[in-house]
């Protein structure tokens, strides 16, 4: 009988098992069909779609208690680009005293990346 894991432990168990076997995210993708980006989000504690839960549970050889699991995709739980428009989260290797011109330039590149990604998503949806 397989072990039953609470949904909230699925990500940490995935991470533990993957590191134990020294498998990269790409290697797990080949075995599960789940993208590295989704696997990484799951390991960080984000709640995936139920289809992803099933695939990962099968790979781990466990069953998962999914009471109350959400069917919405990850993007609905993330702040929109409007919320973050002028305060940008960034890992930045730069001088501690950043000039205003450079700060604004980096913010503009962030805006452009967000815009391009939104256009890409719209095209995908058709």
């Amino acid at each position: 009988m397989p072990i039953t894991l609470p949904l909230e432990q699925l990500g940490s168990e995935l991470k533990r098992r993957r590191r134990e076997r020294q498998l990269s995210l790409r290697a797990v993708e080949l075995q599960t069909g789940v993208s590295p980006a989704t696997l990484s989000r799951l390991e960080r504690g984000n709640t995936p779609d139920l289809s992803v839960v099933e695939k990962i549970a099968n790979w781990l050889g466990v069953s998962v208690a999914t009471a109350g699991a959400q069917r919405e995709s990850l993007s609905s739980t993330v702040k929109t680009d409007e919320d973050l428009k002028r305060t940008i989260a960034v890992h930045l290797r730069a001088n501690k005293k950043l000039s205003s011109e450079l700060a604004e330039a980096i913010a503009e590149t962030f805006d452009m990346v967000v815009r391009l990604e939104l256009e890409k998503q719209k095209k995908k949806r058709g």
């Binding site: 993957r18 590191r19 020294q22 498998l23 990269s24 995210l25 790409r26 290697a27 993208s35 590295p36 980006a37 990484s40 989000r41 960080r44 984000n46 990850l74 993007s75 993330v78 702040k79 929109t80 680009d81 919320d83 973050l84 002028r86 305060t87 940008i88 989260a89 960034v90 890992h91 930045l92 290797r93 730069a94 001088n95 501690k96 950043l98 000039s99 205003s100 011109e101 450079l102 700060a103 604004e104 330039a105 980096i106 913010a107 503009e108 590149t109 962030f110 452009m112 990346v113 967000v114 391009l116 990604e117 939104l118 998503q121």
Partner: protein, 199 residues
């Protein structure tokens, strides 16, 4: 060599750094003694490297290149998709870009909290601010250096082969400055100085 079979630095700080680097390599599916090539492991982070001209208008890119001495690189997360995008300063040498990229990868893999860059919308005198944690930045750079030059290989180069900094730098594809930093942080300065006049 300890009970786990790992060859670790003798100092507590050096040991802690090496263990963090091994943790990063485990996430990337690499063995503990591996030399990380940051460019090839991006899909395993996962993150995407984008050229500056792909994320900036000509004017913005010009501003950033004119202020090239102020920045090395940055990583952002696209809110709608959670995807990580990394941009490196194209004016920097390949060796320096490699170190910056490795540092950004460490930030992402270790899930460091991001800094907040606040940019004023007002056309009046602009007040921009940025949160900054020296501790987090130090860990990312230090662990990144350990991923690029694993301790066992550095020890071999310094103690066994008696290599000079420039030779080690060329072999690992990093700057001489990074090698000196790594030797100091790994606690190998005195060993290096026994064979060479200065670090």
């Amino acid at each position: 060599m300890n009970a786990t079979g790992l060859f670790l630095p003798f100092t507590p700080a050096g040991k802690a750094t090496e263990l963090r680097a091994i943790e990063v390599k485990a996430h990337l599916g690499l063995p503990s003694r591996a030399i990380v090539d940051p460019f090839s492991v991006l899909p395993d982070v996962p993150a995407e490297l984008r050229q500056l001209e792909a994320v900036a208008s000509a004017e913005t890119a010009g501003t950033m290149l004119a202020r090239s001495d102020e920045w090395s690189g940055y990583a952002i997360t696209v809110p709608a998709t959670g995807e990580h995008i990394i941009v490196l300063n194209p004016a920097h040498s390949l060796e320096r870009q490699r170190a910056t990229l490795m540092e950004e990868i460490v930030h992402l893999v270790l899930d460091h909290p991001m800094s907040e860059l606040s940019v004023s919308d007002s056309s009046a005198p602009r007040v921009n601010s940025r949160t900054h944690s020296s501790e987090i930045e130090d860990e990312a750079f230090c662990v990144g250096a350990a991923c690029l030059i694993p301790y066992g290989l550095l020890f071999d180069a310094v103690k066994v082969r008696g290599e000079e900094v420039q030779s080690i730098a060329a072999r690992f594809g990093v700057s001489a400055e990074l090698v000196r930093y790594r030797i100091k942080r790994a606690g190998l300065t005195s060993i290096y100085k026994r064979r060479h006049s200065a670090l």
